[in-house]
């Protein structure tokens, strides 16, 4: 956290997505009211074909990033994996499974499971590892999201449409492009239980008879948390924007930059309205966010911000020297994050 004590930048990026699907054509497969889902503003999302695991997508993205960087896995000093949905197995380390898939023999791995927040923690972890160890010069950061449809309805996912994808980035010490300048984050633990998956963990390994994770819309639990009081809920909505603005302000101060210098804000791939709310809280126009990309991609959990960063570069929407704020709100947590990148 805080301003970098080491200089590092992104050398290359790789992505791997599930099959692209139209929201209009498939929403009715998930919910009885597809019009409500369409109102979220998404046009498409990605769904991994049957049998395609998060580990497979993460490995595909990693291979592409390594190839673009001209690196062999043996030249990577650390692998950091953020996995934002339910892993393939409980009591299992997807980061080690990814390393095995990539043919690594001894590269240390780290697993980050803070849901949609994992991207920021992963970048911070890479910076920290480089600061702590001069031998750590190259880090492979991988973020993956493959929705477990047995646990979650991807069309009723915290007001967004959940999507399957992975992004991998090769980070190198002293790399002069796509430099990580600073970060900031805050957590409000009052909301630790919001959006949790109810069954399958140690507290409730199995759902009671007649119930299941998919039976109740997660938003109903959110309403219950606030006593179904519109004023309390409205305060929560306000807090989302206020805390986002606060972490962006802190990250900018740590980097010695101003909000007016931001060329683009890349938010998690939330609904059209949620991104508009974030833009308003940050005082930037919607067309300088990732709103359009979010509508095409769907919410890829922890992969959103780095996927969109790369897509904006590919489309020529970011130029050398541009200042970009990668931001997000993550639940459970809840956490608010900002990482500043200079292109």
């Amino acid at each position: 956290m805080g301003s970098s004590t080491v200089e590092l930048g992104i050398v290359s990026t790789g992505t791997a997505f599930g099959e692209r699907r139209s929201v209009a054509e498939t929403a009715a497969d998930y919910v009885p009211d597809p019009e409500a889902v369409l109102a979220l503003g998404y046009t498409s999302y990605h769904r991994a074909a049957g049998g395609t695991t998060a580990t497979r997508l993460a490995a595909d993205a990693s291979r592409e990033a390594l190839e673009m960087a001209g690196l062999d896995i043996g030249e990577v000093d650390l692998i950091v994996l953020g996995n934002s949905d339910v892993p393939e197995y409980l009591g299992w380390d997807p980061s080690a499974a990814l390393a095995r898939e990539l043919g690594s023999r001894e590269t240390p791995t780290v697993l980050l499971a803070q849901s949609c927040a994992a991207w920021s923690v992963a970048l911070d972890h890479a910076a920290g590892a480089m600061a702590l160890s001069p031998e750590t010069g190259t880090v492979l950061v991988v973020l993956v999201n493959v929705v477990s449809e047995a646990h979650t309805n991807r069309m009723e996912f915290n007001g967004s449409i959940a999507s399957d994808g992975a992004v991998a980035a090769v980070l190198r010490r002293d790399h002069p492009r796509l430099r990580r300048l600073s970060s900031a984050r805050t957590t409000n633990p009052e909301y630790a239980d919001l959006f949790r998956i109810e069954y399958g963990g140690a507290a409730a390994p199995l759902p009671p008879q007649g119930s299941a994770d998919l039976v109740v819309d997660p938003m109903a639990r959110v309403y219950r948390h606030f006593g179904r009081d519109p004023e309390r809920f409205q305060g929560f909505m306000r807090e989302i924007g206020d805390r986002l603005a606060a972490v962006v302000g802190t990250a900018l101060a740590r980097a010695g930059r101003e909000r007016g210098e931001l060329a683009r804000v890349i938010h998690l791939n939330d609904s059209r309205q949620a991104i508009a709310n974030a833009a308003e809280a940050l005082g930037i126009p919607l067309d300088r966010t990732n709103a359009r990309l979010a509508a095409e991609l769907g919410h890829m959990g922890a992969a959103d911000q780095l996927v969109c960063l790369w897509k904006h570069i590919e489309r020529g929407e970011l130029a050398k020297g541009d200042l970009v704020a990668l931001v997000g709100v993550a639940a459970p947590g809840m956490h608010w994050f900002c990482t500043l990148i200079e292109i």
């Binding site: 009211d33 039976v215 819309d217 938003m219 639990r221 179904r228 809920f233 409205q234």
Partner: protein
């Protein structure tokens, strides 16, 4: 002694016009409640959002004494005036949350 039959529970009449008046007053200022079609899509037009759902649920409780079950607090039940009336009537009959 034979058990007495349970007393009939009064199910309040939930009126489209009443709902339309509240929706207009709260979310569509300047619009005449009489002009709001009971089938006008309030979600697709972003008149109602997640906060709006809670406001309407609270109003149904205050106005009619109808408490919607948690499971009914879903967008589909608030998409139109007619949908709001239907979910309220189901809850009033004790058939909500299905």
């Amino acid at each position: 002694m034979p058990a007495e039959p349970p007393a009939a529970t009064a199910v309040p009449d939930v009126l489209d016009g009443d709902i339309a008046a509240f929706v207009v007053e709260r979310f569509l200022p300047g619009v005449d409640a009489g002009e709001l079609d009971p089938d006008y899509d309030l979600l697709a037009t972003a008149v109602i959002d997640s906060l709006g759902i809670l406001h309407i649920a609270a109003w149904l409780e205050q106005r009619y004494g109808i408490v919607l079950p948690d499971a009914d607090l879903a967008g589909r039940n608030f998409r139109t005036v007619a949908a709001i009336r239907a979910v309220a009537e189901r809850a009033a009959r004790g058939e909500g949350g299905a």
